[in-house]
């Protein structure tokens, strides 16, 4: 059934070459879970420039991309190293224009979630009761106000965000691109539907019958997906629920690395430019990753019933 359709399975290098261009608006989403480090590294390796990077929480991966000079602008709502302090490359860019100035378009989480939701629905805006009394309104003209056509109440409004390409990570997908996620889903569905192209990066490729055995679990069906990349451990040092846990030591250690521009560059040289891709990255980490692997803990079964 899928035989005649164009093959979507490609390497990360192919996916980035094809779907990420200088100047593009790029979202690598996954809120604190399933963060696409492998995708970000490949974008650094391919030296993409002038990107508008969108993400609720820029996290360590965007800190690396900013340091590597990929970003012209950041659309975000919380830029820190979760549970571990600052993103120093981000701070250097904002505080000292190092290595280059970084334009900021800043929202609250709710505001940016609403932008993705509008984008996914191709609605030109979404209303919310938000931002009231915050100085964010003064520094971001894209946060507007409007009146409810029923109550006359003043509400905030944000515009649709529609990235050129969104990368989302998922635990498993079929070759058609239909992907299933469990655990925290963040804004992955909205960010994917909002984008012109979607690249799905998965821990595991499964038979379409696995996906079809549990259709409620599907985050995104294949026909909305442009490319699928099979990249085990593709989220490390972030995590994939049920597959491997978050590498907290890495997150904590990142503060020391990113605080020092030299050390950060050495890190990129060794772990990004110095490897051909995620497979080599994983190979080089070797047994160290085993401490992160989860023991199985299965969900209670459900039956869809047969006639």
């Amino acid at each position: 059934m899928t035989a005649e359709r164009p093959a979507k399975l490609m390497s990360m290098a192919q996916a980035v070459r094809r779907f990420v261009h200088d100047g593009d608006c790029v979202a690598i989403e996954g809120f604190t879970h399933l963060i696409g480090f492998a995708a970000g590294h490949e974008i650094i390796r391919q030296k993409r420039r002038d990107l508008t990077l969108c993400r609720l929480t820029p996290d360590v991966i965007y800190d690396q991309m900013i340091a590597a000079g990929c970003a012209r602008k950041l659309v975000f709502s919380w830029a820190g190293n979760p549970g571990a302090g600052s993103l120093y490359a981000f701070r250097r860019a904002v505080e000292q224009d190092q290595p280059a100035p970084l334009e900021l378009e800043e929202y609250t989480h709710f505001g940016l979630v609403a932008r993705y939701a509008a984008g996914a629905a191709r609605l030109p805006f979404m209303p919310l009761r938000g931002f009231a009394g915050s100085d964010l309104v003064a520094v971001n003209p894209e946060i507007r106000t409007m009146r409810c056509p029923f109550t006359g109440e003043e509400l905030a409004a944000v515009s649709a965000l529609q990235p050129d390409v969104t990368f989302i990570s998922a635990q498993r997908a079929a070759l058609d691109g239909s992907a299933q996620v469990w655990g925290l889903v963040g804004v992955q569905r909205e960010a994917a539907f909002a984008a012109k192209h979607v690249v799905v990066v998965v821990e595991e490729i499964v038979d379409e019958a696995v996906i079809r055995s549990d259709p409620n679990r599907t985050l995104i069906p294949g026909f909305v997906v442009s490319a699928i990349v099979h990249e085990p451990w593709g989220c490390h040092p972030s995590f994939a629920q049920g597959y491997y846990d978050r590498d907290n030591d890495f997150y904590v250690g990142w503060g020391e690395i990113s605080r020092d521009r030299q050390r950060l560059e050495s890190y990129l040289d060794e772990w990004v430019h110095g490897v051909s891709g995620r497979a080599e990255y994983v190979e080089r980490l070797g047994g160290d990753l085993e401490r992160l692997r989860c023991a199985p803990a299965f969900a209670a079964p459900v039956s869809y019933g047969a006639e």
């Binding site: 809120f31 979630v113 009394g133 520094v139 905030a156 972030s238």
Partner: protein, 257 residues
């Protein structure tokens, strides 16, 4: 991860332990709490173990009804998902739960808090050319707008408690005569490492001093002439069982205490 050493005047507990206990006392059984990482999380789990077994913990990451067995190191900790009642999208977290009026209590932290309870987690200095760029709002601004009660937890200093914050990330109270339609009701309590505060006519007032802390010490560590409640009491010290739970069960590795 353990910036505060044991309090020299009170060898029995640290000020952070006191803060966690005091925050836990803000919670009533059955309430729904929007939780942050660190002290708010410890406070919620302490309350769950002590007097509020039916407390529902919601994290902005989408975990609802989490039962963390150890302190999560991030709001995206996988163990917030394992055993949770529900996991939902962030659109649902913000639209259905927060905007929908389903959150009783929201905990906020901040680099700066001012006389009116405005919180700043965005920049120190000017927005366009900041001295220090902070993470930004995240969920905080709309927690301030929509949670029925907002409780702030923050270590106190003259720098972090200025009369006016450099940037209002999450709005506090509207000063008398001010107009900020749509803004929230403002925090009901501020818990610092020195004292507890409430609000009167939109302005932060001292309500209790922590054991061993003097009024002078409080005044030295706040950026305006702070008013006092009619009766300024002494903050209740942690009970032995609270300390045991915090140290032995809730944060045995001392990540946040």
């Amino acid at each position: 991860m353990n910036p505060m050493a044991h309090d020299q005047r009170s060898p029995d507990y640290t000020r952070r332990e006191l803060m966690a206990c005091q925050a836990a006392r803000q919670l009533t059984d059955g309430e729904v709490v929007f939780v942050g990482i660190g002290l708010p999380n410890l406070a919620c789990n302490l309350a769950r173990r002590r007097h509020a077994p039916g407390l529902v913990l919601i994290y902005e990451s989408g975990a609802v009804g989490s039962v963390p067995q150890r302190p999560p190191v991030s709001i995206g900790d996988p163990q917030l998902v394992r055993g949770a009642l529900s996991v939902c999208s962030m659109a649902e977290v913000f639209y259905s739960y927060l905007h929908g009026g389903r959150i009783d209590v929201g905990f906020l932290q901040g680099a700066q808090i001012d006389r009116y309870g405005n919180l700043n987690t965005t920049v120190i200095g000017d927005y366009a050319q900041p001295t220090v760029r902070l993470p930004g709002s995240g969920g905080a601004c709309e927690i301030a707008l929509h949670a029925r009660r907002v409780v702030v937890i923050a270590p106190q200093s003259r720098r972090s408690f200025p009369e006016r914050v450099d940037f209002v990330t999450s709005p506090g109270h509207t000063p008398e005569g001010g107009d900020r339609s749509g803004a929230g009701a403002g925090p009901v309590a501020v818990i610092t490492d020195l004292a507890c505060y409430g609000f009167d006519r939109g302005e932060m007032i001292l309500t209790s001093l922590h054991p061993g802390v003097t009024l002078e010490e409080v005044r030295d560590n706040i950026g305006w002439e702070v008013r006092q409640a009619p009766e300024v009491g002494a903050t209740e010290a942690p009970a032995a069982e609270e300390l045991r739970l915090l140290r032995e069960e809730l944060d045995p590795e001392g990540l946040f205490l």
